[in-house]
C-alpha cells in the first residue's frame, strides 16, 4: 500500500470519471440486489430449491447448498444482473451523437 498523502481525509479528493462510474454502477446495483433478494426470498423458501436438487435423497446436495448458501448465491446473482443493466445503461448513455441528432 502506498503511503497516504496530504490528499487524505479531511482534504477533499476528486475521483476520475472512470472510477466514479464504476462506483456508481457497483453501488446502485448492490442496492438493487438487496431489494431483489428481499422480494424474491420473502416468497421463495430456499429449502424448496435444496429439496429439488436432492431429489428425495437427504444429504445429496453439495455441502455449500444450505439455505444461507442459496440466499448468498441469489444475492450475488441479482447483483450480477443489476451490474449488467448498469454497464449497459452507461454504454448507451455515452453513445456518440449522430448527424441526425445534431440538426
Amino acid at each position: 500500500m502506498a503511503p497516504p498523502t496530504e490528499a487524505e481525509y479531511p482534504a477533499a479528493r476528486r475521483w476520475p470519471p472512470q472510477l466514479r462510474i464504476t462506483a456508481a454502477v457497483g453501488w446502485s446495483s448492490f442496492l438493487a440486489a438487496c431489494l431483489g433478494t428481499m422480494l424474491v426470498f420473502a416468497g421463495l423458501d430456499p429449502q424448496v430449491i435444496i429439496d429439488g436438487v436432492e431429489g428425495g435423497v437427504p444429504g445429496a446436495a453439495p455441502w455449500w447448498l444450505t439455505p444461507t448458501g442459496v440466499y448468498t448465491l441469489g444475492f450475488f446473482l441479482f447483483w450480477l444482473v443489476a451490474v449488467v443493466a448498469g454497464v449497459l445503461t452507461v454504454l448507451l448513455t455515452r453513445a456518440p451523437q449522430t448527424d441526425g441528432e445534431r440538426n
Binding site: P3, P4, E6, A12, A23, W27, G43, T68, T72
Partner: protein, 468 residues
C-alpha cells in the same frame, strides 16, 4: 441558493489543503456527532448479545425463515409488515429532510458513523492532522511502520468485529462466537464475516466521503425535499460579507468589512471539501464541522458566533421560517397515519397461522364400515411467544368427524399435524363438498385460524362431478 460573493478566491481547494493543515474540529456539534456515533455503534455491536425469553432478542433467522424482534416474531407471511416498516422509514427520512435537512447524513448514516470510528482510531494512533502529515513525510521509518501497523491492526480488528456482528444478526451470536473460538465456523458464515468486514474496511477506511459524493442516491434526490424553510448548514452572507483579513481589534466597520475574517478554516475542516460560503451544495452532508470551526474562530476574534449556523434560507433573508407548511404537513400526516396504522395492525395480528395440504396419494378412502375419510396435513404456526394447545375442528360441524388430537405447538414454531376427517355412510349424501378446517387456541377464547378446503367422496350415480 444563497450564493455568497465568493468569485475571487476560486483557488483549488485541493491545493489549499496541502498548505494549511487544520486542527481537529471541537464543539457542540462534534460532540453530538460523537455521542450519536457511540450510541448507534453500541446498539449495533450490543444488540446481538441481548436475550429475550431464552432466545436472542433480535435475530433475523433466515434459515428458519422467521424474524425475532423482541416479543414479536415475523414470518414470511408477515412480509407486509416489513414492507410497511421500510415505507415508514423512507417517510421518516423525507419528513426529517424537509424539516431539518440532511441530519441523517451528518449524524446517523452508517457511512458517517463508521468513517468517524475509523478516523477516531487513526487519530488515536497517528495523532492529529499535523502529526499525521509530519509522519507521512518520512515514510518507511521505524516509527512510521510501527504506527501504520498498529492503525491497520485496529482497523482490521474493528472491521472483523463489524463483520461478526452483522452475521450475528442472522446466526445466533452465542453459537457464532463459540464456533469462531473453536475454529468451526461454517463456510458461508466465514464468507459473510469476511465480506462485510472487508466492505466496512474499504468504505470507512478509504472510500469515506467519496461514497456520499459519488455513490449515494439519497445525496442526489434529497434536494427534492428541500425548500426555503428547511434547516440547513448555512453561511450568513449578509453578516459575513465583504470578507477579508484584518488585524486583531480592528473595527470592521471602518475597514468596510463583514464578520468573515476569511481564515478558510470552514473549508479546511469540510470532509467533502466544499466552501459553505458559496451556498448550499449537494456534497454538504450537514456534519456541521464548519459550524463548530467558525464558532471557535468568531469567539476568538471577539465576534458573535453563528456566522455559519443551522438556518433556513428564509431566516437568512430576514423573514420568519414557516414550520407548518404543506410539504411538512403532508409528510407528517402520512407518517402519522401509516405509523398508527402499523401499530394497530400489528397489535391486531393473529398470532396463529394455518396451512392445509391435502394428502396427495388418495383423494378419499372408504373405511370398512362404509364411512368416507379424507386425510389432510395441517401446518400450524404459533407466531406467539409462548406455547399453546390447538384444537382442530371443522365447519360446518355435524356430519364431519375429526380424528385429530389437540396438539401443543411451541412458541415461534411450526408443527405439521395429520387430520383425518370422516363422514359416516349415512351422511355422505348430505355432506357438503366444501368445508372449512379451523384451528382453535384452547387457552385463548376467540383465537381461531380457518382454511377452506374440499371434501371428496366416491363417485355416485346421481352425483358424478365431485372428483373434478
Amino acid at each position: 441558493m444563497n450564493e455568497g460573493t465568493a468569485g475571487a478566491e476560486a483557488v483549488s481547494l485541493y491545493e489549499s489543503h496541502r498548505k494549511v493543515y487544520p486542527r481537529e474540529v471541537a464543539g457542540r456539534f462534534a460532540r453530538l456527532r460523537t455521542l450519536a456515533g457511540f450510541v448507534l455503534l453500541g446498539i449495533f455491536y450490543g444488540l446481538p448479545w441481548l436475550q429475550w425469553h431464552g432466545r436472542q432478542a433480535v435475530l433475523f433467522d433466515l434459515p428458519a425463515r422467521k424474524f425475532h424482534i423482541f416479543a414479536l416474531t415475523l414470518w414470511p407471511q408477515d412480509f407486509l409488515y416489513l414492507s410497511w416498516l421500510l415505507i415508514l422509514a423512507a417517510l421518516t427520512l423525507f419528513f426529517v429532510t424537509a424539516v431539518a435537512g440532511r441530519v441523517w447524513c451528518g449524524y446517523a448514516c452508517p457511512q458517517t458513523v463508521w468513517t468517524e470510528a475509523f478516523l477516531g482510531l487513526e487519530r488515536l494512533v497517528e495523532g492529529d492532522r499535523p502529526q499525521r502529515l509530519k509522519l507521512d513525510k518520512k515514510p518507511w521509518t521505524g516509527e512510521w511502520l510501527a504506527r501504520k501497523a498498529v492503525k491497520q491492526f485496529l482497523w482490521i480488528s474493528l472491521a472483523a468485529l463489524t463483520g461478526f456482528s452483522f452475521v450475528a444478526f442472522f446466526t445466533p451470536a452465542r453459537e457464532l462466537a463459540a464456533s469462531v473460538v473453536n475454529l468451526e465456523l461454517g463456510g458461508w458464515e466465514t464468507f459473510w464475516i469476511l465480506f462485510y468486514g472487508f466492505a466496512t474496511y474499504g468504505n470507512a477506511g478509504f472510500l469515506r466521503e467519496q461514497v456520499c459524493k459519488y455513490m449515494c442516491p439519497y445525496a442526489r434526490f434529497q434536494s427534492a425535499m428541500f425548500d426555503h424553510d428547511t434547516l440547513v448548514v448555512s453561511y450568513d452572507p449578509g453578516r459575513g460579507e465583504p470578507r477579508g483579513a484584518r488585524k486583531k481589534g480592528a473595527d470592521p466597520k471602518v475597514l468596510g468589512l463583514g464578520d468573515c475574517v476569511d481564515c478558510t478554516i470552514c473549508v479546511q475542516v469540510c470532509p467533502t471539501g466544499i466552501d459553505i460560503r458559496k451556498g448550499l451544495q449537494y456534497e454538504c452532508i450537514a456534519c456541521a464541522a464548519c459550524v463548530d470551526a467558525c464558532d471557535d474562530v468568531m469567539t476568538r476574534v471577539g465576534y458573535q458566533p453563528g456566522l455559519i449556523r443551522y438556518a433556513t434560507e428564509r431566516e437568512l433573508q430576514g423573514d420568519k421560517t414557516h414550520y407548518f407548511r404543506p410539504r411538512v404537513l403532508v409528510y407528517g400526516g402520512l407518517l402519522l397515519a401509516l405509523g398508527i396504522g402499523f401499530v394497530i395492525s400489528l397489535s391486531l395480528r393473529q398470532p396463529i397461522g394455518l396451512d392445509i395440504l391435502r394428502d396427495r396419494n388418495a383423494l378419499y378412502r372408504v373405511l370398512p364400515d362404509g364411512a368416507v375419510e379424507n386425510v389432510y396435513s395441517l401446518r400450524i404456526l404459533n407466531k406467539d411467544d409462548q406455547a399453546h394447545r390447538y384444537v382442530i375442528e371443522t365447519e360446518p360441524v355435524g356430519v364431519f368427524q375429526v380424528d385429530a388430537v389437540p396438539v401443543m405447538v411451541n412458541a415461534g414454531e411450526v408443527r405439521a399435524v395429520p387430520a383425518r376427517i370422516r363422514v359416516a355412510l349415512g351422511d355422505i349424501g348430505r355432506a357438503p363438498r366444501d368445508l372449512r378446517i379451523s384451528v382453535r387456541v384452547a387457552d385463548t377464547p376467540g383465537l381461531v385460524a380457518q382454511h377452506a378446503t374440499r371434501f371428496f367422496v366416491p363417485e355416485q350415480e346421481d352425483d358424478d362431478d365431485d372428483q373434478d
